[in-house]
């Protein structure tokens, strides 16, 4: 039994066989049934045949272009295809250990590499590169038509726990809860985009496990607790039962999920909750949870993240229309594409799909650069606005100029459509406050914006200069950092002075202590994952807004996020429901009581 503690990213418990997906190098690991071993070994022969044809073509091309002498280098690679230590050895591993072809090939390569690495000969160590080249070709040849991780995932037959080194958002978006019971991630963090998506799909998950993919043995069973951040490989029956029992205790906590409509605090102040969703399919769940609107629709996720360029206007229109009609008469806030150039071009990211440059050409910057993509999206939104109240939110705005340019693009599209097809309704336009420059100039932006939505995930990350996907600095990511509270207070004051509605839509709103302090600072509308709304409503009902204002004022004088959190938790009885003490014990003394 191996027990690992990571970061809880998506609540719930799961147990089952573990399947390993390594994004880099791309290889999926699973064991095959005894009866399918011969078929699996035959895949290696087929891959070797394909690799041979390719290499022969390469040799021919090089012969023509550079002469036979250089081309004969590929003779060595061709010989490696047949050589005992690679394909025949991998086939033997498939047969004896019942591993899948990719995994067996990786093992055979590891065995050869070990010998090469031990050589005290520089020339020889470099030859390892030739072997790696051949093995890479073989690995690709194993899946000549299906090269994407999600198509590989679709081949999983038994419901399993997915163990990954990195989880790309595009892969997370394709996880099917019926087949993937839970996700364990070596890297990542609670607020990583992939984590948010996993949470929205209600798949229990733990991130920041560092070595889970390395420690796993073939065919291992695993149990995962997404609330406590615990991941156990090959659990003993006792350990398994302990995790399940802890979960049963949690589920038994009373949650008033049936309430709908506005919720009032203990001192009769109204607080509104809206839902963050990724697909129209989540709308019924959001309504059932008591959401009074969609506060954030992340439009890029409904598109499969494959190629936004080819996502035509009619397809987008149908998605937005389904969303608006499903939610009417309540409003739907659509955030325009928050993607980077690779996603628009339909190209794969350079390696593993994670090399997203957060400070580069993305979100509104990319939309203003790629007006064809932007105008297509705006046309689809304007057409959908005829079917119910819609609001448009621009992501990553960092200046008044950008907001004006985006608004003028929308006006252009609106007048074009109203000339051709008749009048279109007005659409409120909002700014996602997530860049420090936007937060600091909120008073100026407020003159050109109809509403603000504070995206706390990125705002915290950029204010504190913390890359939230790097597990080694994840501890520095603290939404209750004094700097964050000051920045948020400044935005709230600017919005109030200009009488512009404001909501908070980051994951911060799902954390009870943060929720309480944001209320104390003056936030009255929150948008969060549908599953977080019911617990948050229960907390709000027990809070006095007047008391939270006093607590927030005291918090502004404290020096650290930890002091602020402990002040809030101590002052507010409602944040300490029965059972919370037990849960902290179970979590092994982690400082943050996020649930």
């Amino acid at each position: 039994m191996i027990q690992l503690i990571g970061i809880p990213v998506s609540p719930g418990v799961a147990s089952g066989p573990a399947v390993v997906l390594l994004q880099n190098p791309f290889a999926i690991r699973y064991t095959v049934a005894q009866g399918h071993v011969a078929r699996e070994a035959a895949r290696l022969d087929e891959a070797a045949r394909l690799a041979r044809r390719q290499l022969e073509q390469v040799r021919e091309r090089v012969t023509r272009s550079s002469g036979p002498e250089l081309a004969s280098l590929f003779d060595a690679q061709l010989l490696m295809l047949d050589d005992q230590p690679l394909v025949p050895r991998a086939k033997a591993i498939v047969e004896t250990d019942c591993l899948n072809a990719e995994w067996a090939l990786q093992r055979a390569f590891d065995e050869v590499s070990t010998v090469f690495d031990q050589a005290d000969d520089a020339y020889l160590r470099e030859r390892r590169g030739d072997v790696a080249d051949v093995v890479g070709r073989l690995a690709r040849a194993l899946r000549p038509t299906t090269t994407s991780p999600w198509s590989v995932l679709a081949g999983i037959e038994v419901p399993s726990i997915l163990v990954v080194d990195e989880l790309a958002p595009s892969v997370a978006g394709q996880l099917e809860p019926a087949r993937i019971l839970g996700v364990a991630i070596d890297g990542g963090s609670r607020t990583h985009h992939a984590s948010i998506i996993v949470r929205s799909r209600r798949v229990p998950a733990v991130a920041g496990l560092r070595r889970a993919t390395a420690l796993i043995r073939p065919g291992a069973m695993a149990v995962l607790d997404g609330d406590a951040g615990e991941f156990v490989l090959d659990p003993t029956p006792d350990a398994h039962e302990r995790v399940l029992a802890r979960h049963r205790g949690r589920v038994a906590l009373p949650v008033r999920a049936s309430d709908v409509g506005p919720v009032t605090t203990a001192d009769n102040q109204v607080i509104r909750f809206e839902a963050n969703v990724e697909t129209p399919a989540e709308v019924p769940g959001a309504r059932a949870a008591g959401a009074e609107g969609i506060g954030l629709f992340r439009s890029e996720f409904a598109i499969g993240l494959e190629s936004l360029g080819s996502f035509d206007e009619d397809r987008q229109y149908r998605v937005y229309r389904a969303l608006v009609e499903g939610m009417a008469p309540l409003p739907v806030t659509v955030r325009t594409f928050d993607v980077d150039e690779f996603q628009v071009s339909g190209n794969r990211h350079p390696v593993g799909g994670t090399s997203r440059g957060p400070l580069g050409l993305r979100a509104i910057r990319l939309s203003l650069d790629r007006r064809d993509v932007f105008d297509t999206q705006l046309r689809a939104l304007v057409r959908a606005s005829r079917h119910g109240p819609i609001r448009i939110l621009f992501p990553l705005i960092s200046s008044v100029e950008e907001l004006r340019a985006a608004r003028s693009a929308l006006r252009g599209v609106q007048s074009e459509i109203s000339e051709g097809e008749g009048r279109v309704p007005d659409i409120p336009v909002g700014v996602m406050i997530e860049v420090p420059s936007a937060a600091l100039t909120a008073d100026l932006l407020a003159r050109d914006a109809d509403f603000f939505s504070i995206g706390t995930n990125d705002l915290v990350q950029y204010c504190l200069a913390v890359d939230r996907s790097d597990g080694r600095v994840a501890d520095l990511y603290d939404p209750l950092h004094p700097a964050i509270l000051r920045v948020i207070r400044q935005v709230i004051r600017a919005a109030a002075r200009h009488r512009k509605p404001l909501s908070v839509c980051g994951e911060m709103a799902g954390d009870p202590a943060s929720l309480a302090i944001l209320m104390g600072l003056g936030v009255t509308t929150f948008s969060m994952a549908p599953s977080s709304i019911a617990p948050a409503r229960a907390i709000v009902a027990g809070l006095s807004l007047a008391e939270m204002r006093r607590v927030a004022a005291r918090a502004m004088r404290l020096g650290t996020g930890r002091e602020i959190r402990s002040l809030v938790v101590k002052s507010v009885a409602a944040l300490r429901p029965p059972g919370a003490g037990r849960r902290e014990e179970g979590a092994g003394g982690r400082a943050h009581g996020e649930s």
């Binding site: 004969s72 003779d75 060595a76 050589d83 230590p85 000969d121 020339y123 020889l124 030859r127 072997v131």
Partner: protein, 89 residues
């Protein structure tokens, strides 16, 4: 069984291309071929084995052939090594 000793004479030693030539020639015979250097023995028909032998210029290797055409095999392989795999000495 035929056993012959030979000195690797080409400048680059038994590198990838040379080893590939050796394997091509060795596999044209029925005899089992092993190559030994400094107590380390590898299959003469395996490119990875020969590379791992790290037989550089001036190293002494022992070629052993065993099978119906062992004499011809040993003779041809020794000649290949002696002539520097057809490369510059």
């Amino acid at each position: 069984m035929m056993t012959r000793q030979v000195v690797v004479s080409n400048a680059l030693g038994m590198h990838a291309r040379a080893a590939a030539r050796f394997v091509h020639l060795a596999t044209s015979f029925q005899a089992r071929v092993t190559v030994n250097r400094d107590g380390r023995s590898v299959d003469g028909k395996s490119i990875l084995g020969l590379l791992l032998l790290a037989a550089r210029c001036q190293s002494v290797v022992t070629i052993t052939a065993e099978g119906p055409d062992e004499e011809a095999a040993a003779e041809a392989l020794v000649r290949l090594v002696e002539t520097g795999f057809g490369e510059a000495p």
